[in-house]
Subunit: 249 residues, 2 copies
C-alpha cells in the first residue's frame, strides 16, 4: 500500500513510527496565530480567526488552535524531535509557518536536532490589502536536514519562491494548500521514498506525494478531515482526484 493514514494525535502516532523509516517530513501544523491578545489567539476558533466575516462557505473548523506562544514552541519541538527520530540520515523537513510563528519554528527545528538550511516563501496573490501597511501575502516554509545534505542521492533543484492561490473551487479545508505547490515540494524526497505529514488535514501533501511517485504516511486528529483525506488519497491512486475536491491544477 503506497499510503498509510493514522487517525489520532500526532505525537502519539509518531511514537509508533520506526526509526529511520521516512525520507522527508512535509507538514503544515496549526499556527496558533492570529489575534493581538493571548485570549484572541487561544480562545477563538480557527474559523473565527482566519476567515472573512462575510464569507459564504461553511468549511469545518480544525482543532489544535489553542496553545499560547511558549507552549506552541515546546509542542512543536517535541513534534519535530519525534519526526527527526523517524527520519533517515540526510532526510529533510519542510514546515509551513506564518510570519508570527517563523522565529519559533526555526528555534523548534534546531532544538529538535535538525540543521536549519533556509526559508522558502509561498506567495499568495489573493491576500487582504491593508491600509498603511505592507500586505502579509506570504507564508513561509522553514526547512532543514538530518545531518548533511546528500545532493547526489536526489539531485533536484527546487525554487525558493512558490506563487499560487489557495484552491477556490472544491476547497474542503480552511487552510488548504495548492496541490501544484505541494507537488513541487515533495520532490525534495527521492523518487519512491516516503513522505510523512503529521498534520494531514484534507490530505493535499499526500495527494501530491502519490502523484509524484512517493509513498505517504499521514496522521490526522479530526475524524471529519481524516475521512476526506482517506477518500482523496484513494482517488489519487486511480489518477482521479476530481470527484471530491475538483480539478486542482
Amino acid at each position: 500500500m503506497p499510503y498509510t493514514l493514522h487517525r489520532g494525535d500526532a505525537l502519539t502516532a509518531l511514537a509508533g513510527i520506526p526509526d529511520n523509516s521516512v525520507d522527508a517530513v512535509i507538514t503544515d501544523p496549526p499556527y496558533n496565530s492570529g489575534g493581538r491578545t493571548s485570549s484572541e489567539r487561544t480562545g477563538r476558533s480557527a474559523r473565527a480567526k482566519y476567515t472573512s466575516a462575510d464569507a459564504e462557505h461553511d468549511l469545518a473548523n480544525f482543532p489544535g488552535e489553542n496553545r499560547d506562544q511558549r507552549s506552541y514552541g515546546f509542542w512543536l519541538t517535541l513534534l519535530l524531535t519525534e519526526s527527526y527520530r523517524a527520519t533517515v540520515e540526510s532526510g529533510t523537513a519542510l514546515v509551513f509557518t506564518d510570519w508570527r510563528q517563523l522565529p519559533t519554528t526555526t528555534d523548534a527545528m534546531q532544538a529538535a536536532g535538525w540543521t536549519w538550511r533556509g526559508i522558502a516563501s509561498w506567495h499568495k496573490p489573493v491576500s487582504r490589502p491593508q491600509k498603511g501597511r505592507l500586505k502579509q501575502s506570504c507564508e513561509y516554509i522553514v526547512w532543514g536536514t538530518k545531518g548533511p545534505v546528500d545532493a547526489n542521492r536526489n539531485p533536484v533543484y527546487l525554487p525558493g519562491l512558490y506563487t499560487a492561490s489557495q484552491p477556490r473551487k472544491g476547497r474542503v479545508h480552511i487552510t488548504q494548500k495548492p496541490v501544484e505547490v505541494m507537488q513541487e515540494l515533495v520532490k525534495i524526497c527521492p523518487p519512491g521514498g516516503t513522505v510523512l505529514d503529521p498534520f494531514t488535514g484534507s490530505g493535499t501533501t499526500g495527494v501530491a506525494a502519490l502523484r509524484e511517485g512517493r509513498q505517504f504516511i499521514g496522521v490526522e486528529l479530526s475524524a471529519h478531515y481524516a475521512d476526506i483525506a482517506e477518500a482523496r488519497l484513494h482517488n489519487a491512486l486511480t489518477q482521479d482526484d476530481f470527484e471530491l475536491a475538483g480539478p486542482e491544477e
Copy 2:
C-alpha cells in the same frame, strides 16, 4: 536641504539625532551571516563571503562584518533602540535581513520597543540554484511601528512581495538594493516626511526617498561609500542619477 549625510559610526551618529524627528527608519544593516561556523563568519571579509570567487567586478569591501551571533543581536538592539527614540509616534521601521538573521532581527526589533508588524519578501529571480536544496532566492524585510499604525495619516497599500534583481550595470556596492524596490518601500513614510538610514552604503534608500518626495538622513562609516552616496544623493536632486550608477529602473 532635503538630505543630510553623517560620516561615521551609526550608533554615535544616531545619538545626535533629536527625539521624534524621523518618520521612517529604512535600512539594510550588515548581516554578519554567510558561513556555517563562527570563525567562518567573523574571519572572512564581506567580499569573500558575498561574491563569487570568479566574479569580475571589483567592489570595495565594507566594514562591520565581524560580530558573532549573540553580539549581532545585542548591537542591532542598541541600534534599533536609538532609532526608536528618534522616530515619531506611529512611525515605521523596515529592516532588511537574510534568512539566517531573520529570527535575531525580529527579536532585536521587539527588544528595542517596536511593535513587530510583519515580514515582507524581496525576491531575486537571478540567484544560484543549488543541487538537492531549495534555492535561497529571497531576502526579508522585517517591519514594525512605534505604537499603533496610523493608517489615515498615510493611506497607502503596499505589497508584501517585491521582485527585482540586484543592479548589475553600474553597481557600486556589493549588497546594493534595486532602487525600484526602495521607491516602493519609502512610501511607508508620509510624503514630505523624513526617512532615516543608519547604514547608507551607496545611498540607494536616500535616492529613492528623494525621488519620491521624502527627506533623507543617512549615516555611513566608510569614507569610500560616503563619497559615492553624497554624489548620488546630489544627482538625485537634479533628477540625474545615471552618471554614477547607471540606469536603475
